[in-house]
């Protein structure tokens, strides 16, 4: 009997020791994060341009930069960040039950998600739309010519829904071929297994870059769905919601004010523009509302850079980027015809 008793107690203790369990009381998320010493950010299974792993084991991408910005804002150090990757099927439940503080993984902001799944979308950091890639030699120039075609799609995401709606609305009687792994989807498409591939246009152009001969394919002009992608937080903590929202706006605002990672020090020291000084904390007290230090914006831009720099580094035409040009797309600044707009920070 003794043997059994010691056995069970030891295993119980071992399990407790491993969990790093924090019994959080009803404190605010910011307090929990500060107490914990790092931000827990949740991304999905690796997706090029937004969040994927490099050979050294570090995460990089647009969504990862958002998480780094939040960490920089709170702790002044973008490294105080723990990134968890959650499968698409458990992503919303993982956020809802407190495993992570911020969900930043190309989740489309839809009404049902915003109202039914216990979370709030803070804003849009990337405007995307679902499109089609076809072979140039197939002669298809518009999505409406896809009558009776077979289209490859990845399962478990809204792309499936949008394709079915698009086919039903234009009664194209499209038959879909669903894949779990996008590699296999593209491979089947390249081998002629389907006539077109449908996904968010950002992913389409990113994958096309990796085709053996990218210029034999083209992305159809039509966008069959609106895909506003943005980070989301748990419902019920307005202060934390504001903090994340204004961090994302800070990135855009910095680009509007022309503040870049390089010139942020000199801008703070001797810029004459009042909104720049107020933004970088040289004067005024816009930071109190968020419960952060006064040079929260300075830390963000110093360590992460503004929205333009992030976009070019991972999405645009930087070394690690997937080659989606920003000019003329919805992701350009509002001054350049895009939709990226930050409310005044004063």
């Amino acid at each position: 009997m003794k043997l059994m008793r010691t056995l069970s107690s030891v295993t119980a203790v071992a399990v407790m020791m491993f969990t790093g369990v924090t019994a959080a009381s009803a404190k605010s998320t910011l307090e929990i994060v500060k107490e914990r010493g790092h931000v827990r950010c949740q991304v999905g299974p690796a997706s090029a341009g937004f969040y994927n792993l490099d050979a050294a084991g570090d995460w990089y991408g647009l969504d990862v930069s958002i998480c780094q910005a939040v960490a920089a804002a709170i702790f002044g150090d973008k490294k105080k960040l723990e990134i968890q990757s959650v499968s698409s099927q458990a992503r919303f439940t993982a956020l809802a039950n407190g495993e992570s503080d911020l969900l930043s993984r190309t989740a489309t902001w839809t009404m049902s998600r915003d109202t039914q799944l216990g979370l709030d979308f803070v804003g849009v950091n990337f405007y995307d739309g679902q499109g089609f890639t076809v072979r140039k030699d197939s002669g298809i120039t518009s999505a409406h010519q896809l009558k009776g075609a077979k289209v490859c799609v990845t399962t478990g995401t809204t792309t499936e829904l949008n394709l079915t709606d698009f086919s039903r609305v234009n009664d194209l009687n499209i038959s879909l071929l669903a894949f779990e792994d996008f590699n296999v989807r593209d491979d089947t498409y390249l081998k002629g297994g389907c006539d077109a591939v449908t996904a968010d246009k950002s992913a389409l152009s990113g994958n096309m870059a990796a085709f053996p001969n990218p210029d034999a394919h083209l992305i159809l002009p039509e966008t069959i769905s609106k895909e506003p992608l943005g980070p989301a937080v748990r419902q019920g903590d307005a202060r934390w919601f504001d903090l994340v929202k204004w961090t994302t706006y800070a990135l855009v605002n910095a680009e509007e004010l022309g503040i870049t990672q390089a010139n942020v020090d000199d801008m703070r020291a001797n810029s004459k523009n009042v909104s720049v000084r107020r933004f970088l904390g040289a004067e005024g007290s816009i930071h109190e509302g968020l419960g952060l230090s006064k040079d929260w914006a300075y830390d963000i831009i110093k360590q992460v850079g503004n929205y333009g720099e992030i976009y070019e580094a991972y999405i645009g035409d930087g070394k690690l980027a997937i080659g989606i040009s920003r000019a003329g797309s919805a992701n350009a600044l509002w001054t350049k015809g895009g939709l990226m707009y930050s409310p005044p920070m004063r």
Partner: protein
């Protein structure tokens, strides 16, 4: 009249056809038209496999390249192993900080040192070494991997573990050299042989407490940087999950197997229903259930991280597998053993603990190794629910921008790694089966 042969005829060597190669080939490969057909078909299959894979995988494979574009440049249809080579650290250690990799390697070396005495001849008290490896090593390894500040409990357990591993290694060396155990050696060394039993014991306790205090002081200022579980990954994470899985599946399996055989109706019905339920479910549904339901089971604010959820699910699932192995082992033990134990006055738990279970364990060892291989292979399923184990990492290579679209080579590399590990272990379990000359067919395979 009797026919008698006086001298025995001398033995002559076997005729040529029996041992010559041509004879052997003729007998074994081409002795009937059906066999000839089989041989030709087999030769064709071997040729196709070797030439196809060989050419693609080796002759025009690219071993060093900066990114996939360069791979295409060097050889379009060859294998691009460069991606796998550059991702080696991720594949084996996941995102564990590269500066801290020594801790993972140390943990592995400690386990090997700790378990080695079990295979060395003339080492006594192997049961203690085995049990300490299963119950005390996890604390030392746990601290090594997670690091961070140590509570009182953690400090004591780390001290005990350090003393244990030092003692075990010393004990094993002495055992191999001189065939004696550590206490006997110490007594002889300090010429206390003729001293009374009592102060021999006091002396040993004295030495023990001295080492414990020394170890405690040693580990006081020894602190490691915290590495959160989210950074664990690759083969390291697979081994952690399957290691903890097998370590807790055994006791769980024993309890469930005893429950299944117990005379108390309620306990029997409960254990049977638990075992049958988990044995009829696929592991993937149990993992999904764990990731979606466990958070709901937790009280308000109590957050169970995903790795623990997965480990609990794997332990529950494999405890039921192990229960079947244990039941097979128990059935292989002759009922006479139990009756003999009863006749000398043993109660139920003593009979089980001291007579039946040790023998059953000996019979089950090959099957336990078999179940461990199954567990190791099944751990790859955690990649489906988002943990970056070895398979998760291999599938992530195709996302990394320089290696976009590279997914065949990593998958093949993973298959080869698993084949090597599992093949060696299955050969070892067959060797164990022969060595332990376990005639009993437990048939859990």
């Amino acid at each position: 009249m009797a026919i008698v042969t006086k001298q025995p005829t001398p033995p002559r060597p076997a005729p040529l056809s029996e041992s010559s190669v041509i004879g052997w080939v003729r007998i074994n490969l081409f002795n009937s038209w059906m066999n000839t057909g089989l041989t030709l078909a087999s030769l064709y299959i071997v040729y196709v496999a070797v030439s196809g894979l060989g050419v693609w995988g080796f002759s025009d494979a690219v071993w060093v390249a900066k990114d996939r574009r360069e791979c295409f440049a060097i050889s379009v249809d060859g294998a691009c192993w460069a991606g796998v080579v550059s991702w080696i650290d991720n594949i084996f250690y996941g995102r564990y900080p590269r500066a801290e990799l020594w801790r993972v390697n140390l943990g592995g070396v400690l386990l090997i040192v700790w378990m080695a005495p079990l295979w060395l001849p003339r080492v006594k008290a192997k049961i203690f070494i085995g049990l300490s490896a299963v119950f005390i090593y996890p604390f030392l390894a746990g601290y090594l991997f997670t690091g961070g500040d140590k509570g009182i409990f953690m400090q004591t357990m780390v001290t005990v573990a350090m003393v244990c591993v030092a003692g075990n290694t010393l004990h094993a060396m002495i055992g191999v050299i001189s065939g004696r155990s550590l206490p006997e050696f110490l007594i002889g060394f300090l010429r206390m042989k003729e001293a009374s039993e009592k102060n021999q014991r006091n002396m040993l306790l004295g030495i023990l407490s001295l080492t414990v205090i020394a170890a405690y002081i040693l580990q006081m200022n020894w602190s490691l940087e915290t590495v959160s579980w989210t950074k664990w990954g690759g083969m390291f994470l697979t081994l952690v999950i399957s290691g903890i899985g097998i370590a807790s599946a055994l006791p769980g399996g024993i309890i469930l197997a005893l429950g299944r055989r117990s005379k108390l109706t309620l306990i029997r019905v409960l254990s049977i229903s638990v075992i049958e339920m988990f044995r009829s479910l696929p592991l993937i549904t149990v993992l999904f259930m764990a990731t979606t339901m466990f958070p709901l089971f937790m009280p308000e604010g109590f957050v169970l991280n995903k790795l623990v959820q997965v480990i609990i699910a794997v332990c529950l699932f494999y405890a039921c597998y192990m229960a079947e192995t244990v039941r097979g082992g128990l059935q292989a033990i002759a009922p006479g053993q139990q009756e003999a134990a009863h006749t000398i006055g043993f109660g139920y738990w003593k009979t089980m603990g001291l007579v039946v279970m040790p023998q059953a364990l000996r019979v089950m060892i090959p099957n336990i190794v078999g179940t461990f291989i199954q567990l190791l292979k099944d751990t790859t399923l955690v990649s489906i629910i988002g943990l970056y184990d070895i398979l998760g990492m291999l599938r992530a290579i195709s996302q990394d921008t320089p290696w976009r679209g590279l997914y065949r080579e990593p998958l093949l590399f993973g298959a080869i790694v698993f084949f090597i590990v599992c093949f060696i272990m299955s050969k070892y379990s067959r060797h164990l089966e022969v060595k332990l000359s376990t005639g009993h067919k437990t048939g859990n395979e």
